[in-house]
């Protein structure tokens, strides 16, 4: 789950705010300067520059409820600024990191995964540790499921699934994700290998497919009616 990440993030934010007690009284530009040295994702820095103290503490209360085990569906996540920043981070920055991992990564031994993930998330702080743990201790399906659910609850994002017959290279995944994010904002496109497709790929958006696979071409070819 993302609780470790949220805990680490809150730790960093609370420590930062403890050092800057008048942070929410500062102008946006000054806030940006203060946040320059804070090691949190850019989405949260932006969030902190925009949010008021009152709203921050309301958001903090929701995050705490989440950490205490309240089901996500019972929390007022839709449109919440903190969670919008969270989903922006996960669907853009973090998703790019996930795309760098090959499909085989999740099948590797734990030690190997620790080494491999280090190459992708290099930072040494609580947040990076939490993200590494998140990727090491969960399968791709679990990670994708959590992030898709979060994106739906917070932004009402579409469910996007990309199936290809082989694991795609990270550059192509990034490109596909970028284009799909433009078409379906705030979504977390999930990449899945389906060898049965043979070639090409297909995209499911909320269950509706756009099929560019060889399998569908063969199916079309072999389902053509002969002229009687």
């Amino acid at each position: 789950m993302i609780n470790s990440f949220l805990t680490a993030l809150l730790y960093e934010l609370v420590h930062f705010l403890a050092k800057h007690k008048d942070f929410f009284e500062l102008a946006h530009e000054v806030r940006e300067e203060k946040l320059a040295n804070l090691k949190v994702p850019a989405a949260f820095k932006h969030y902190l520059t925009q949010i008021s103290g009152e709203h921050f503490f309301k958001d903090l209360k929701i995050v705490t409820s989440m950490l205490n085990g309240t089901p996500w569906a019972q929390l007022p996540l839709k449109g919440n600024a903190f969670f919008k920043a969270l989903t922006e981070f996960f669907t853009v920055t973090f998703a790019a990191k996930v795309d760098e991992l090959s499909g085989r990564f999740y099948l590797l031994p734990y030690e190997t995964r620790v080494v491999d993930i280090r190459k992708i998330i290099e930072s040494d702080n609580r947040i990076a540790d939490a993200l590494r743990e998140f990727l090491i201790t969960n399968s791709y399906q679990e990670v994708a499921g959590i992030l898709t659910e979060l994106a739906q609850l917070v932004n009402g994002a579409d469910m996007v699934l990309v199936q290809a017959p082989r694991d795609m290279d990270s550059e192509l995944k990034k490109e596909i994700r970028k284009v799909l994010l433009e078409k379906h904002p705030h979504s977390f496109p999930v990449f899945q290998v389906n060898r049965g497709l043979i070639g090409g790929f297909r995209v499911f958006v909320n269950g509706t497919s756009m099929d560019h696979s060889w399998l569908s071409r063969i199916a079309k070819l072999t389902s053509l009616k002969t002229v009687s």
Binding site: R166, L172, I176, I198, F201, V203, H212, S223
Partner: protein
């Protein structure tokens, strides 16, 4: 008179014989002739009555016979009419039955033809489906195992270009 006596004929005896004969005739008339006549009259009347009765019976019989003849003629006429009506009815039924049989036969033939056509179409479809499945299996067998990895990767990129 003496001459009759000389001849041995006694006139008194003759008188007695005549009286006797008269008495006898009188007795016979009263005792035999009259009852006999009465019997004969009665018998005649009885015969006459019987003849009349027989005549009446004959007349009755003739009348009955005529009625019977008339009834027979009427019955035969009615029977003839009935027979003619029955013949016409039978003829109509025969024509109707033949028409029904012809219609049924036509319908059965059409149904049989339709069944044959449907069966033929099903068989053709099944054969087509089998052929297409076979083609699909052959194509899938070839493309799943014989296509180089690079071609598959290129196919993903090509599909992506189309999708964009």
């Amino acid at each position: 008179m003496e001459g009759l006596l000389k001849l041995g004929i006694d006139p008194l005896s003759i008188l007695i014989y005549v009286v006797n004969t008269g008495v006898l005739l009188g007795v016979l008339v009263f005792v035999l002739y009259k009852p006999l006549l009465k019997f004969i009259d009665e018998r005649r009347k009885q015969i006459s009555d019987s003849v009349d009765e027989a005549r009446l019976l004959k007349e009755e019989l003739d009348k009955k016979s005529e009625e019977a003849n008339n009834a027979q003629v009427h019955f035969e006429t009615e029977l003839k009419k009935e027979r003619e009506a029955l013949r016409k009815f039978a003829e109509e039924k025969r024509v109707q039955l033949e028409a029904d049989m012809a219609a049924t036969r036509t319908e059965m033939m059409q149904k049989a033809e339709a069944d044959i056509e449907a069966h033929k179409a099903t068989m053709v479809k099944e054969v087509e489906a089998d052929l297409l499945n076979l083609m699909k299996k052959i194509i899938l067998e070839i493309v799943q195992h014989k296509v180089p990895e690079q071609v598959i990767q290129d196919s993903i990129k090509d599909a992506w270009k189309q999708y964009k």
